[in-house]
Amino acid sequence: MGVACAADEMKLAVTTSFHNSGLSDVLLPEIKKDLGLEVQLLVVGTGQALRLGAAGDVDAILVHSKQAELDFVTQGNAPHRTEIMYNDFVLVGPSDDPAAVANAKHIVEALTAIKTASHPFVSRGDESGTHKKERALWHAANEDPTTFPSDWYMAVGAGMGASLNAASGMSAYILSDRASWLKFGNKGDLALLFAGDEALFNQYAYLPINAQTHPHVNDKAAHALENWLISDRAKDLINGYRLNGEVLFIFNAKP
């Protein structure tokens, strides 16, 4: 197992949805045990994580926004992109389900139902991976969310937790990643209404920062972590992580 770099430390920027899932609380102590590496998490928005990486202020990033990640690599900020695991997005809403999305056959139908009912819907509106996914889904439904009136389509421009808080306060529908939703402590009247569509697939990837442009980054630690994340050890931990009996993440790295 990896190179043991005693009492080493590195900084990893992650998105709120990853951190909120609680998986990091399981993984970090194990990484410390196995690699002697202390991973310091910076929990920020996707865009901010990419900026921190581009500036060389962190040693690696873990995000879920494929196109942005590819651009990041193209611009030379990271040598490569490694897919680690995925989870899925779920549609959450008021438990009495006024727009009847629970019966929808697929996510596009569910979203259309919400629009037809003009029932409050909270959008992250912050260019995060989740937001981009939501927008893509609307486009798949041939809708342009920028034209939606703000009396029901509410772009709250905030992180996952804050957006869920808003949805909970308003009894609104919202697209969330499963992990954040399960871990969320302020569910109020909300319930998970729709999930399982293939279109809701959510891939997380790890990108070490380019040590050529940023010689000060802890390249060794970043690579040690990468090797650990794609190892069987990580696979067991990730696949074994459960919340309320539910599996949250599925390991899909190709070692």
Binding site: S150, V156, G188
Partner: protein, 258 residues
């Protein structure tokens, strides 16, 4: 929100093409450029959120002043047993963490909360309520400080004239208005730059509750640092303008020492 086009426009200097060392300085420069763009083009979104910022903060300052100024004054005038403790608590409440205030107001206004029926959550009114909670101790504390010295000066006369406590407070508020203005302006400053509480109770909803600070937080999260900075500069300019207008209206610094 159309603000982002400004960033793309201003971004015609290719950030990625620059050497790493200058990247962040370039961000600050671009922040200035985008602030300039936003202002000269009278960007309608900018105007909307700026006006909302002003509306929320001035309303909150007005309400907080109506509560905090007489209270601070009363504290200076009245001797009672737990005065010292009250003052220490008041000073400490200047440091009320906005996030906590936001949370409590959220819980109270939430649909399932005691005031849920009014449907105030995620409205500008909720933001005003949260800001009033934050600003009142601040304004009261600075007012108390200013009035305490004036009261020491007036003490003998006002007691001798057999004034009621209400008259004393009114007299001190009126004669100390110059110092109290600073208290109100401090409150305005604190309010206009505040984000933690209003983010939670307002929700930063586009065209409904988005204000300058929440927009800045949003752009920061997006990594759009230049636009965030641009909005920040607009906010600072706004605060300076308000201060200048108030100062020249009240002629505080002109009329010399009273």
């Amino acid at each position: 929100m159309s603000l982002s086009w400004v960033f793309s426009n201003a971004g015609s200097l290719n950030v990625e093409a620059l050497t790493p060392k200058t990247v962040t300085m370039n961000d600050i420069l671009q922040g200035l450029i985008s602030a300039f763009h936003l202002i000269v083009t009278l960007d309608p979104d900018l105007i909307e959120i700026s006006l909302r910022s002003l509306y929320v903060t001035t309303s909150a300052v007005a309400i907080a002043a109506v509560i905090g100024l007489p209270f601070g004054c009363w504290l200076a005038v009245r001797r009672f047993r737990f005065r010292r403790l009250t003052i220490a608590v008041l000073n400490a409440l200047m440091g009320l963490p906005p996030v906590v205030v936001g949370l409590i107001v959220y819980l109270l206004l939430s649909r399932s909360g005691p005031f849920g029926v009014f449907g105030l959550l995620f409205t500008p009114t909720a933001m005003i309520i949260a800001q009033v909670v934050i600003l009142t101790p601040l304004i009261a504390s600075i007012a108390h400080q200013a009035i305490r010295d004036l009261w020491a000066e007036y003490h003998d006369l006002l007691i001798s004239l057999n004034t009621t406590r209400g008259q004393r407070i009114r007299t001190l508020l009126w004669d100390g208005r110059r110092a109290l203005l600073t208290a109100a302006l401090a409150g305005f400053g604190r309010g206009i730059g505040e984000v933690g509480a209003i983010m939670i109770v307002g929700g930063n909803i586009d065209h409904v509750t988005r204000v300058l600070t929440t927009a800045i937080a949003l752009e920061t999260g997006k990594g759009e640092f230049a636009l965030a900075l641009g909005l920040g500069f607009v906010l600072i300019l706004l605060a300076i303008a308000v201060n200048l207008v108030i100062h020249s209206l009240s002629k505080t610094e002109v009329s010399g020492r009273w």
